[in-house]
C-alpha cells in the first residue's frame, strides 16, 4: 500500500481488514483514540517498530500502525 498523498498529515494504518486513514497532526495519542472511538485496552500504536506511549504527540508525516490486540478464536 503506497502511502501517497498523506504529506501534511498523520498516516494511520488500520488492520483487520488492512486499510489506511489520515488525520491532521499534531495530535496526542490518547485524544486520537478517543476521536476514533477506540478503547485503549484494545489496541497498541506502533511507529517505527516500537510502541508509542499514550502521552506522545503525533506529528504530520508520522506513519502509525493501530494494531488491535483482541483476538477471537478459541485455541
Amino acid at each position: 500500500m503506497a502511502p501517497i498523498g498523506h504529506h501534511g498529515a498523520v498516516l494511520l494504518k488500520l488492520r483487520n481488514p488492512n486499510r489506511t486513514q489520515t488525520v491532521p497532526g499534531p495530535v496526542k495519542v490518547s485524544v486520537l483514540l478517543d476521536r476514533l472511538e477506540l478503547n485503549r485496552e484494545s489496541v497498541l500504536l506502533i511507529r517505527n517498530g516500537t510502541i508509542v506511549a499514550g502521552d506522545t504527540t503525533l506529528q504530520d508525516d508520522d506513519e502509525v500502525e493501530i494494531r488491535p490486540v483482541i483476538s477471537g478464536g478459541a485455541l
Partner: protein, 303 residues
C-alpha cells in the same frame, strides 16, 4: 511518561498496576507475572518438560519465549489447519520464531496427515468451523503431550480470554463449565496435565511483549472467527476496565481464589468416565472418539 523502575522514557502505561514501563522493564514485568502465576497456582515444577500449543499468534509465541527464558525445557506443537493463506502465514511465523531461537518445533498437518482441513470439515459436518477446529486441536495436542511424555501441555489463554469465558459462564450460570474453569487441570485417564500460565497478563500486555522483544506474529484474525460471542464480552469487559482499572484481573483471580473450589464436588460429579477409542486408543466417553468420527465423516464425503 517515565518508567516506574528505571525513570527512563516509558512506552506503555499499565493502569491496573499503576505503572509505566520502558521496553526492558515491560518484558521483565511480563516474565515476572508468568512466574508468579506458575508459583501461585502450582502449575509447573522448575525445569519441567513442557509442550506448548502454538498458533503463530501473540499469546502462544510470547508464552513460549517467556517459558524458555524462565528455564523450562520447551517444545512447541503447531497444527496446520488448512485455513488458506491465514494458516500458511501463521505457520511461517511459528517456524521463523522456533528456528531463530533454536527451539524444538513439532508440526502436524491436518490435510496431509489426517485427510481433511477445517474449511471442508465445517462444510461437511454443517457445524461451525470452530467446533471442528477445537476438537481437532484438543485431540492432537493431548495426544502429542501424552505420546511425547511431557510433564504438561501449556496453552496461551490470557486474562482477557479467561475473563470473557468466565463472564459467559456466569451469565448463564453454567455450573459444570464454571467448575472446570481453572488455570491447572491435573493429568487423568490418559489426558495430560493442562496449564495456562498467561492468566495474569492481558492481551494488550502479551502483544506489547511481542513488539518490544521483536517477536513477529500473525496479527490478522482467522477468517472463520466471525461472530464469536467472546469478542463482545471482551469489549464489554474492556469498557469496565477503562472505567475501573483492575476489574478483569479481580473478576477472574477472585473467582479462582474464593469461588471455584466451592465447585469441587460439581467438578468430580461432572467427570464422565473415560474408556478408550476403539479406533485410535485416545481417551473417549464413547466407543469411537469425536476426532475419529470427524475423520471418517470427512473421508466418506470427500470421496
Amino acid at each position: 511518561m517515565k518508567c516506574t523502575v528505571c525513570r527512563g522514557p516509558a512506552l506503555i502505561d499499565l493502569r491496573r498496576h499503576n505503572a509505566n514501563f520502558c521496553a526492558e522493564h515491560l518484558a521483565k514485568f511480563c516474565r515476572d507475572q508468568v512466574e508468579r502465576a506458575i508459583h501461585d497456582f502450582d502449575m509447573l515444577e522448575q525445569g519441567a518438560r513442557i509442550l506448548i500449543a502454538v498458533s503463530g499468534g501473540k499469546d502462544s509465541l510470547a508464552l513460549w519465549d517467556i517459558l524458555n527464558h524462565l528455564g523450562y525445557d520447551t517444545a512447541g506443537l503447531y497444527v496446520g489447519l488448512g485455513i488458506g493463506e491465514y494458516s500458511d502465514v501463521s505457520g511461517r511465523f511459528v517456524q521463523k520464531f522456533a528456528s531463530e531461537r533454536g527451539l524444538e518445533l513439532l508440526e502436524v498437518d491436518l490435510r496431509s496427515e489426517h485427510g481433511y482441513d477445517i474449511p471442508t470439515a465445517a462444510e461437511l459436518t454443517r457445524r461451525s468451523p470452530c467446533s471442528s477446529c477445537g476438537l481437532s486441536k484438543r485431540h492432537l495436542f493431548d495426544r502429542a503431550a501424552i505420546d511425547g511424555g511431557y510433564d504438561a501441555l501449556v496453552t496461551g489463554h490470557n486474562l482477557d480470554d479467561e475473563a470473557a469465558v468466565l463472564f459467559g459462564n456466569v451469565m448463564r450460570w453454567q455450573m459444570d463449565y464454571l467448575a472446570r474453569q481453572r488455570p491447572v487441570l491435573p493429568e487423568r485417564d490418559g489426558l495430560p496435565r493442562k496449564v495456562k500460565p498467561l492468566v495474569r497478563l492481558t492481551e494488550r500486555e502479551t502483544a506489547a511483549y511481542c513488539v518490544v522483544t521483536g517477536i513477529d506474529y500473525q496479527v490478522d484474525e482467522c477468517p472463520m472467527a466471525a461472530g464469536n460471542k467472546h469478542i463482545a464480552y471482551k469489549e464489554l469487559l474492556n469498557e469496565m476496565e477503562v472505567a475501573s482499572p483492575g476489574t478483569k484481573a479481580d473478576f477472574y483471580l477472585s473467582f479462582q481464589r474464593r469461588a471455584v473450589h466451592q465447585l469441587d464436588g460439581t467438578l468430580a460429579e461432572g467427570r464422565e468416565s473415560l474408556g478408550t477409542c476403539d479406533s485410535c486408543g485416545a481417551p473417549s466417553p464413547s466407543d469411537i472418539c469425536a476426532f475419529c468420527r470427524l475423520k471418517s465423516t470427512t473421508a466418506r464425503e470427500n470421496r
